[in-house]
Structure formats: C-alpha cells, structure tokens
C-alpha cells in the first residue's frame, strides 16, 4: 500500500513535467496544424540555456526559467517566420519533413556547440525531499509540477482573455476569422509558434534539473509529447495536463506491475487506442 502510494505520487509528479513538455506541441498542432517533430529539440535547447545560466552565472534554474522561455520564443518566432512560413500552404507531409530536417539541424548544431558531454543542472537543493503521508516527495519535482500547472493555467487564461489569445483561438478555427481580431495571420503564426517553443524551453529547463541533458534527448521527448497531446486532446491546455498526469501514472504502474521494459508498449499503445477508439472526436478538429 505504501509502495503503491509512492508510485502514484511519482506518476503524478512526472505527469506534471510531461504536461508542460506537451503543452507547446499541442498548441502549435491545434492552432497551426503543424506537427512539430523538432519539439524535442526545443526542449533540449531550453535545457542547455538553463544549464549554461546555472554553470556560468550560478543562476537558479527556477530564476532562469523565464530567460530560457524567452530565448526559445525567439528561436521559435524566427524559425516560423523565416523557414516554416515559406511552406505554410504546402502539402501536409512537407511540414513533417521540414520539422524533421530542423530537428536534425538543431541536434547536430547542439553537438557542435555544446559537445556530447552529459550535463545536469544540479543546484544544492536538487536532491532534497520531504515526507507527506509516508510518501517521499522530491522538492524539485513538486516545484516543477507547480510551475507546470501555473504555466498551463496562465496559458489557458491568456487564450481566453487576451486579444492575441482570442486571435490565436480564432486562427485554430478559421484563418479568415482571425483578421476580425485585428491581428495579421502572419504574426499570429509566428507568435503561436514562438509561444509553443517558449513552453518547450521552460519544460527543458525543468527537465535539466531532474534528469541529464545531452544533444540527443530530443527524439524520445518528442514522441512522449505526442502521446500526451493526443491523449489529452488539442483543444484545451487543461486537457494536456490531464493527459500528462494520466500518462505519468500509467507508466509508473506499468513499470511496477508488468515491468520497466513495457513502459513504451503501454504509453504508445494507449496513444494508438485513443486515436482508434475516438476517431470522430479527434477527427473533428482536423477537418
């Protein structure tokens, strides 16, 4: 019982971070209909920003979080304006291909610039924890969880209550309608992609605190983000949080009861299942 409670707590905390990772992907997919295969590379870059701020300037990773996000916002904004925008009306698999190409380029550049050394963001409190109801809770994961929820919640408010946010939501429905909000589609596209990248950057910064960083962590994180975005749905940021926590719990329980080598079978199996069982609900948002 004790063990089960601990495992569930682990799963929920992991899920919070998962949700933040997937949030940007879901936003970009839902609004721009771009499946961004370079999303994991953005997370990786965000982690490196956090790492260098921590190592060179001794900056706390939670203080570095906004900087990491701002840096990635610029990367995303420029990439969409300078590259992705050029094929915005091209065939669907062209966007898949180009984001894959961008992923390769970013990963290789990261190896050249940052080397393949394994890095961690390791502040003195990184491993500290506290007990609650007989369950050990790592401070960093709890904080990351809270930050993830806060960011998700502010995303939600932003989409609902700001001019730009309403423009973005309108774009998701209909490009023409977006003009009614007085925002040019071009700038909406770049802003949305930038925000998506910024969320990935924030997730990366937190990821570096709980795990290790190297230029090649992106691919698996992209795959995970897909699973969460699909399970949670693309419509609302809150759905992504549910998806993240759900996946975190499923993975933890699978590792415990079936075995750690079956984690991927479970998470991607559920992804396929969700897609297949609810094709109408999910299809509705693409057509």
């Amino acid at each position: 019982m004790q063990l089960l409670a601990q495992i569930l707590a682990n799963g929920v905390l992991l899920g919070g971070l998962y949700a933040l990772m997937a949030l940007g992907l879901a936003l970009v997919w839902g609004v721009l209909n771009i499946v961004n295969l370079a999303h994991g590379a953005f997370i990786m870059l965000g982690a490196y920003v956090g790492y260098y701020l921590f190592t060179l300037f001794d900056m706390d990773p939670f203080v570095a979080l906004p900087i990491s996000m701002a840096a990635l916002f610029c990367v995303g904004y420029l990439l969409q304006g300078g590259v992705l925008n050029l094929i915005a009306r091209s065939a669907m698999f062209n966007t898949l291909l180009i984001t894959f190409g961008i992923d390769v380029v970013l990963t290789q550049l990261a190896q050249i610039l940052f080397s393949a050394d394994y890095r961690t963001i390791n502040p003195s409190y990184a491993g500290s924890n506290f007990m609650a109801f007989g369950v050990t809770l790592p401070w960093v994961r709890v904080l990351a969880f809270v930050v993830a929820l806060l960011l998700t919640f502010s995303m939600w408010l932003f989409l609902l209550h700001t001019r730009l946010g309403r423009g973005i939501r309108a774009t998701a429905q209909n490009l023409g309608a977006a003009r009614l909000y007085g925002v040019a589609p071009k700038s909406i596209y770049a802003m949305t992609f930038g925000i998506g990248a910024a969320l990935a950057g924030g997730a990366g910064d937190l990821y570096g605190v709980v795990s290790q960083i190297n230029p090649y962590i992106g691919a698996t994180l992209t795959a995970k983000s897909f699973a969460i975005a699909i399970i949670g749905g693309l419509e609302s940021p809150l759905g992504v949080v549910v998806g993240g926590i759900f996946l975190g719990i499923v993975e933890s329980l699978t590792a415990l009861y079936i075995g750690p080598t079956f984690v991927d079978v479970a998470s991607f199996g559920i992804l396929v299942l969700v897609l297949v069982v609810r094709p109408n609900g999910l299809l509705g948002s693409t057509s």
Binding site: V105, T261, L275
Partner: protein
C-alpha cells in the same frame, strides 16, 4: 518521349544495373544494395503515401517485421532464407490487415501520429520477445555473396516498380488517387475505400518486408532499434517526396540522388554529414516541394524563377 521509348530506356538502365556486379568494386556494389533497398522502401511508401495520400510512419514497422521474420525463421527455426523472406512478408501483410483496418480510418496528421506510435509499440514489443532475442537482437548466419544480395535487391525493386506501373494504369490505382484527392467523394463514387486503403497498405508492406529481409541477411545482425528505425521511415518519405510522390519512377530517382548525396557526405565530410543532410531536407522542401520530377518538367520554361515561384506560392 513516348511511353515505349521510356520503357525501353528503363529496361536498358535495369540491364546495366544488373550487370554492375561483374565490373564494379565491392564498395560500389554495397552502395548499390543499400540504395536499391532504399528505393524499394521508397516505392513501398509511394503506394500508401504517394498514391493514396496517407503519410505513413509505419512503413519502418514493415521493414522491421520483414527483418525479424527472416531472422527468426533462419536463426530460431533453421529454415532457408527464401522461407524467411516469405514469413516476413506474411507478418507484414497480417500487420497491415489487423492494424490497417482501425488506423486507416484516421486522416491527416492523426494517421501519421498513429503509425508513428505503432512503430514505437512494435519496437517495445519486440524488445520483450524471447524468440526475437529481446533487445539484444539476433545474429544471422554469414553469407559471403554481395552480388547475390545486389541482384535480389534489384529484382525486388523491379518488382515493386512494375507493380506501381500497373497501379498507375489500373482501376485500383485510380481508386487510390481518388481517395487521395477527396476521400468522401471517392466513397460516394462507389469505391470501397476501406478495402482499397488496406490493400494499398498491405502492398506497401510486402515490398518493405522483402527489403527488410534482404537487409537483415546481408548485414547479419539486427536489433529492435536498427530494425524499426524511425529515421528510415523519414528517409522513405524524403526520397519519395524529393523524387515525386505518386509517380512511377520518381521515388527511385529520389532514392538514387539522395543516397548518392548522403553517401558522399558521410565519406567526405564525415562528422557534419548529418547536419548537411538536415539542411538539404529543409532546403529541398522549401524550394522544390513537389519533387524532382516537377522541377525537371518545369525548369525548362521557368528557369531559376522556378524556386522563387514555389516559395511565393506556398508561403503565407
């Protein structure tokens, strides 16, 4: 150029390619095997992606099943290579039928993501299967005969290309193209879209599985990561799109050109090869999103404006 001339030229090219092992160095033969197999895979993707319009990321699953079918038959059951190939192809067809039915109901990105997830699931399942050697993989017997592998790969590619040639002029092919252009309209025209799509998926599976089986026996070692390699699937798409999706020879040309580039890069500039390859992909998608075939057709009239016009046409 009329069809007969085209056919004749292609036949001569095939004969020349077939004669290659008698005068080429082993490095060239090996490059040939890899390229022919990639071209076969690109043709497989062409059926489901190019003709039917379903951007599959599950074709690497077919490749993996072909590899594992062959390896399991040869290593665990001591069966001959031919039986292994057939077994691998059978596994692929079964997979296409069982998973194709539910997954092919999805459209657009959702299909792409579902197949992407399937390939992750298959990797994870195979790495837990005792008979597949779990994640440590299987070692196949060593056969010293690259010429044989070369001819086999060439034969498979010819078979795949002939099949696509048939598709391009058959009722079945028109059905697939109708599905690509407008699936609802195709259904209302009385096309059994489910059947057509599943058949296309299975057909793609057979050729990919054959390529996988040949590759496994040639390389002599497979493990889940290399057999279900997702980047291989991306290569299939790039080669098809680069050459011209939905055309008979486009993907083959795409595979030859891109393999040549990538091989030269990995020999000449070694450590930045991947970086360059990434840049090549991005540039190609931006400036020639409709592939090499379209470029060749229209470049004569438009000249360098071709690239500019492409960008103008597709940007927001």
């Amino acid at each position: 150029m009329n069809l007969r001339a085209k056919f004749l030229l292609t036949a001569i090219a095939v004969l020349l390619l077939g004669a290659l092992p008698w005068f080429a160095s082993p490095t060239v033969i090996q490059f040939g095997i890899a390229t022919l197999l990639l071209a076969t895979l690109a043709q497989g993707w062409n059926i489901i992606g190019g003709y039917t319009g379903y951007a599959s990321f599950g074709n690497s699953v077919f490749f993996g099943l072909g590899s594992y079918g062959t390896a399991i038959a040869m290593v665990q059951w001591q069966l001959p290579f031919g039986v292994g190939l057939a077994f691998g192809a059978l596994l692929s067809v079964l997979f296409a039928l069982v998973m194709g039915l539910p997954v092919l109901r999805l459209r657009g990105h959702y299909f792409a993501i579902a197949t992407l997830a399937l390939s992750q699931v298959m990797t994870a399942i195979v790495s837990n299967l005792e008979i597949a050697g779990r994640n440590t993989g299987l070692v196949l017997p060593l056969l010293n005969g690259d010429a044989l592998f070369y001819e086999l790969s060439l034969a498979t590619l010819v078979l795949a290309t002939l099949t696509i040639f048939w598709i391009s002029r058959s009722r079945f092919g028109f059905g697939l193209i109708a599905i690509r252009e407008n699936e609802d309209a195709a259904a209302s025209m009385g096309i059994n879209t489910t059947l057509y799509k599943v058949l296309a998926f299975a057909l793609a599976g057979v050729f990919s599985a054959l390529a996988g089986g040949i590759h496994a026996y040639w390389i002599t070692f497979i493990d889940p990561v290399s057999a279900f390699d997702l980047s291989l699937n991306v290569k299939m798409i790039i080669m098809t799109v680069f050459g011209g999706p939905g055309s008979v020879l486009g993907p083959v040309i795409g595979a030859f050109v891109l393999s040549g580039i990538s091989e030269t890069l990995s020999t000449e500039v070694s450590t930045v090869a991947s970086l360059f390859f990434g840049i090549v992909i991005v540039t190609a998608v931006v400036f020639m999103p409709r592939g090499l075939a379209d470029l060749i057709r229209r470049f004569r009239d438009t000249g360098w404006r071709y690239f500019n016009e492409n960008v103008k046409q597709h940007r927001l």
